[in-house]
């Protein structure tokens, strides 16, 4: 039974992938650049969703603070772009500093002159911050709802800090990237946006492969073990603190990459990335798509956000109701999310309910037991 199921799951995953890749390849020619840019943004959000799936779907850590790492990645990218495009401004520093009378570049901006540093900073800084927060929390055996509250509180701390520091990072106004230059081209220009779309598409697939590699095999099984019965893992000789710190750090790094890609495609990074609702939305994408499926996280992030923009254009103000309804639907009717429902017996049960498919025999287990009865 389980072997057939694995094959079935593989077929589903494969067909989804074919559809996704076909859409990605077709998108730049079909979609107008405005829509393409939106799709690129939502694809970049699917990377942070993959991280949420790793820590929540697999390891059982419900973080409501992924916005911290998302924003950190975005700020790293934006700082680099601002500083490389600041040659015509007073003191050769980004324009906004003049508003607050700052004449000397704050020290932590200096390394962001280097593209190499920035390239690594985008994912390593969020990963390190996540690792540090995670280690302190996990070492003290804080879990469950207390962990969620603590991550949300950290999010608020970061939000308030970034929001209030005009002289360091332009506070609540954030850092604009669309009018900056990258390799002699305007970041907000159509050709650059097309390139960012491709980079995002490739990185989404790479992130999926990476996440798949992390959860396959024994490492992933320990994560599932921690989710289901952490003390048991401990008594078997594993140290859950290290495993949780690693996976939380990985999710932080993915969030950073996601934030950087989102920033260059939306044209700005601001403390709005660290608001409470946005981090909760990330969890909703994964819940709707399907926890512990990876692919569900990607689909959830892209489709929900695309739906959000379409609905908001047609019926402004109604989106919050739809999103709330979607979440309630998932919690009550599809606890495994849409993909989890498809992979489970969901579609067959539905067809049976409408009489479109014959019911399976009531006690298939009897037959199975008879076959194995000789051995017992």
């Amino acid at each position: 039974m389980s072997l057939n199921k694995i094959k079935f799951d593989k077929k589903i995953a494969l067909s989804f992938w074919i559809i996704i890749i076909a859409l990605i390849i077709a998108a730049p020619t079909i979609l107008p650049v405005f829509r393409l840019n939106l799709l690129g943004r939502y694809l970049s959000l699917s990377i942070v969703a993959l991280g949420v799936d790793l820590i929540w779907g697999y390891t059982g850590l419900l973080s409501l603070g992924q916005g911290i790492f998302f924003a950190l990645g975005g700020y790293c990218a934006a700082m680099y772009l601002q500083i490389t495009s600041s040659s015509e401004f007073p003191n050769n520093i980004p324009e906004f500093f003049a508003l607050y009378g700052v004449e000397k570049l704050p020290f932590f901006w200096e390394p962001f002159r280097s593209p190499f540093f920035t390239f690594f900073a985008i994912w390593i800084i969020p990963a390190l911050v996540a690792g540090l927060i995670g280690f302190l929390v996990f070492r003290n055996r804080i879990k469950g709802v207390y962990f969620s509250i603590l991550t949300q509180a950290s999010l608020l701390v970061f939000f308030n800090f970034f929001n209030g520091q005009q002289k360091l990072i332009n506070g609540t106004n954030g850092l604009k990237t669309d009018v900056t230059q990258l390799f002699g081209q305007m970041v907000g220009s159509e050709s650059m946006q097309r390139i960012f779309f491709w980079i995002t598409a490739i990185l989404v697939i790479a992130a999926w492969f990476f996440a798949k590699w992390v959860v396959k095999g024994r490492f992933g099984n320990i994560l599932i073990g921690i989710r289901d019965d952490e003390p048991r893992v401990r008594f078997t000789g594993y140290n859950p603190v290290i495993f949780k710190t690693i996976i939380f750090s990985i999710a932080g790094g993915l969030a950073g990459i996601s934030g950087a890609l989102y920033t260059v495609q939306s044209g700005i990074v601001s403390p709005q990335f660290m608001t409470v609702p946005f981090s909760i939305e990330m969890v909703i994408w994964v819940a709707v798509g399907g926890r512990g499926t990876l692919l569900g996280a990607i689909l959830g992030a892209v489709f929900i956000n695309y739906a959000k923009s379409l609905v908001s254009e047609a019926l402004p103000a109604s989106w919050m109701f739809i999103q709330g309804g979607l979440f309630i639907l998932v919690v009550t009717a599809l606890p495994e999310g849409v993909l989890g429902w498809i992979q489970g017996d969901g579609p067959r049960n539905l067809l049976q309910r409408f009489g479109l498919k014959r019911k399976i025999e009531t006690y298939p287990s009897l037959e199975v037991n008879n076959k194995e009865g000789n051995n017992e």
């Binding site: 039974m1 389980s2 072997l3 992390v214 095999g217 024994r218 490492f219 099984n221 320990i222 599932i224 073990g225 289901d228 019965d229 003390p231 048991r232 893992v233 401990r234 008594f235 078997t236 000789g237 594993y238 140290n239 859950p240 290290i242 495993f243 690693i246 194995e372 051995n375 017992e376």
Partner: protein, 249 residues
């Protein structure tokens, strides 16, 4: 205390806000010994395992295992030193397959790097095969552990315990909810494990304990009431009073 002892519990006291779960408990285990621990509810049997495995820190006293003190060590460190535990109700990873459950137990070293980088060693795979045959789960290799019957779950957990290759096995109520036949098989399995391993079995089931044919320690109110063979303790007046009841029962 002497050199042949694997484990010494010396004057262990555990106090939960004034309530003494264990009260100056002393217990010594020889290497290779099979020991049954019985006692009425609330006698401190599970707390006694919690102290050894590091889940509960004793208020007072010392736990010496292989010459090292276990007090204050983290659970996973104690497990790596060679203390394995089977829980009262079967605690297996229900969302993993039987094989994956066993992989978790036989894998060494138990570090993240080893798990993510390397595939499982051949000798560990052989060990998994051997264990699955011992506990009759060979046909269920790729079934989710959650789909097993209660008895099979108990056995899977015993197999996971053996796979960990601990020097000391602590087995908490291994036959709860098993049929008579399964109970007998479990008793034989545990007997065959002692000798090479040191095994402590906690249970209520007197028939099962008798079948183990081992030394028995009787706990009552957090301390060892009596120790000896089944015959000795059955004649002990104190034990009869607190636990076994009068012969006519």
């Amino acid at each position: 205390m002497n050199n042949k002892d694997l484990l010494n519990l010396i004057d262990i006291t555990v106090s939960f806000e004034g309530f003494l779960a264990l009260n100056k408990l002393n217990l010594n285990l020889k290497k290779g010994e099979l020991r049954a621990v019985i006692g009425p509810n609330g006698a401190g049997k599970t707390t006694f395992l919690d102290v050894i495995t590091g889940k509960v820190k004793p208020t007072n006293g010392e736990v010496i295992f292989k010459g090292k003190s276990l007090v204050g060590r983290k659970e996973h460190k104690i497990a790596r030193l060679g203390v394995g535990r089977k829980f009262q109700s079967p605690r297996i990873f229900e969302n993993l397959t039987v094989k994956e459950n066993l992989e978790i137990s036989v894998t060494t070293p138990k570090s993240p790097l080893n798990l993510i980088n390397k595939s499982i060693k051949d000798e560990q795979l052989n060990e998994i095969d051997r264990l699955m045959k011992i506990v009759n789960l060979a046909q269920k290799v790729n079934s989710k552990a959650g789909s097993l019957s209660h008895g099979q779950k108990q056995w899977l957990e015993i197999a996971m315990l053996v796979g960990q290759k601990p020097d000391l096995m602590l087995v908490d109520e291994p036959v709860a909810g098993l049929t008579d036949e399964e109970t007998d098989l479990t008793a034989d399995l545990l007997k065959s494990l002692s000798g090479e391993n040191t095994v402590v079995v906690i249970d209520h089931d007197m028939e099962f304990i008798r079948r183990l044919d081992s030394n028995v320690s009787v706990l009552n109110q957090g301390t060892v009431l009596c120790e000896g063979t089944m015959e000795t303790i059955q004649k002990d007046k104190k034990v009869i009073d607190v636990y076994l009841g009068r012969p006519e029962d």
